[in-house]
Subunit: 329 residues, 2 copies
């Protein structure tokens, strides 16, 4: 577990995310360094960010690198790959490739981050990378859910790929050697849903090394009924955002309601616990933080990235027989 | 508004929904008749249901018809259409076709209900029917959201169709002559998302008589940022269930948390308010209730069905120029 604890370095893209967040990034860095004393940070960003960092007490464990370019959230992949040589996101990913850092974290656009990570770090086997969140599933319990938006459209074969990535990741992240993989669907009955999910379930059920948990419905996402939830990136993204939206409405009621909500909310469901999605399937630890994440959530995501490195996630996944299989079944 | 208040009859499928619910159906019927004194009910079901109804105080406004067959939730459409002649669901839909009732409500399978309704009642124009919920969007405000699962897969043209159905329905149900229609997507930026939603947005923006509200994210479902949310049936179903799942977890915490949750919950977000989805696009008022709806929620859905009839929903939609347009743009 502690292979690298002595020298974990995380590369932080200091340009992404919602505007006017320099202060937020600096405080997240401070907070993360406090939470995880064995970690170092390399922060990539503008001169302005550099000045803010200098004023803060981040100390010698936080290094700054000038990379002033910011990739727009929705820049086309081809333009991202061909341009933006001085962007913080690209430099941060390159730091992982060059071994200066073991993980990269960005709150920038999902599309650019996925494109750069695939291109610069390469993919594991013939896997289709997917964004995977550790979502709360009861007191002290978690499930993994993927894809959350790395792919805009997914085939049944892609969902099988996600099932393998999720299983390999769960062995490391959840310490569960034989996690159950379920497909998100309209109902738990075997004949409901569209062709993609029906076919995906069959592929998963007949794949050696995977444990098929059948279907789960979206109201079971946080109930711990399964270990891994696979879904296409569009649906996964929508499902988590719908859940967050409702939780936020309840948490931010008017007057006394807000006070009671604070007392009512289960601690384990707190939304910052599932900020930070891992991009599984690339050769390196890549974490995408919510663009709108607050500083605490960003700090937690930075620490999660360091923990994934500490646990040897990328190396163990690369060595997992499930991801070495040449054929699909 | 009160065209039919004097003589509204609702046909209730007394077999669908979760098992062991006879008592629930009877109490829902009683409750709905109390809430809506101008309504009559025809309940279709088994001898056992008949005995339960006789014991209850539903009185002369509640008629029973024997239709003991129950269509399994996931029966194949072809089998539904060719068989189940004595099923409560079929008889209830036929009651609308024959003018004995003006609306039908069922907690049975979505697939069978959609198939029977399309076949027996016919569709409006060349519309693809869709399940539409009135979802809470703040204190005393509602949005319409469709499709919620009548179709397992939808094209951009289908989403345009849903936009038209939703707009025509909003004119009657929300009394909003020019409602904004938005497409559910991963982000509000114009270039995010898969091809279907990008194309659907363009179709809606260029369709005369529709007011395009762009994209909405799933965390904006209950915020009232738009009047109508269109999405494919798979995603819509997942989004609402994810929201319900989280709301339920918060509402059912352990010990005192449950008590505080009751105080914290905004009244307008109470889940029974969006039980009962209208199947828009068929020639008749068809309401699908959640299979797991409790008796209060089923009663509210029955009353919603009667209100839709009272408002002249089907007739006004059939006469809406938007649904009479022969071409798509």
């Amino acid at each position: 577990m502690a292979e690298r604890k002595a020298g974990i370095t995380v590369a932080l893209d200091g340009t992404g995310g919602d505007t006017d967040r320099l202060g937020g990034i600096v405080r997240a860095a401070e907070f993360a360094l406090t939470l995880y004393p064995a970690m170092r940070l390399i922060v990539f960003g503008s001169r302005e960010l550099e000045r803010s960092l200098k004023k803060a007490r981040t100390g010698s464990r936080c290094q700054f690198r000038l990379a002033p370019e910011c990739i727009p959230q929705d820049e086309a992949p081809l333009k991202v790959l061909e341009g933006y040589r001085d962007s913080a996101m690209r430099k941060a990913v390159e730091a992982v490739r060059d071994g200066e850092a073991q993980a990269v974290i960005s709150a920038g656009g999902t599309g650019p981050l996925v494109a750069l990570s695939r291109h610069i770090l390469g993919t594991l086997g013939r896997m289709r990378p997917a964004l995977c969140a550790r979502i709360p599933a009861g007191e002290g319990r978690f499930s993994l859910m993927l894809d959350l938006g790395a792919n805009a459209r997914s085939s049944a074969a892609d969902l099988l790929s996600f099932a393998k990535l999720g299983t390999a990741a769960a062995r490391v992240m959840l310490k569960n050697a034989a996690p159950a993989v379920s497909v998100l669907n309209l109902g738990s009955e075997l004949c409901k849903g569209n062709r993609t999910v029906l076919e995906a379930r069959d592929l998963i059920a007949s794949c050696r090394g995977l444990h098929c948990g059948g279907f789960v419905e979206a109201n079971q996402l946080f109930t711990g009924d399964t270990d891994i939830i696979v879904t296409d990136g569009f649906t996964g993204n929508v499902a988590l955002k719908a859940a967050e939206g409702v939780a936020r409405i309840i948490a931010h009621g008017p007057g006394m309601k807000r006070f009671f909500a604070r007392l009512a909310f289960p601690q384990w469901l707190a939304p910052w616990q599932y900020n930070g999605s891992l991009l599984l399937g690339v050769k390196g630890t890549v974490v995408k933080s919510h663009a709108s994440a607050r500083q605490e959530a960003l700090a937690v995501a930075i620490v999660e990235a360091a923990r994934a490195v500490e646990a040897g996630l990328t190396e163990k996944m690369a060595a997992d027989p499930l991801l070495l299989q040449p054929s699909q079944a």
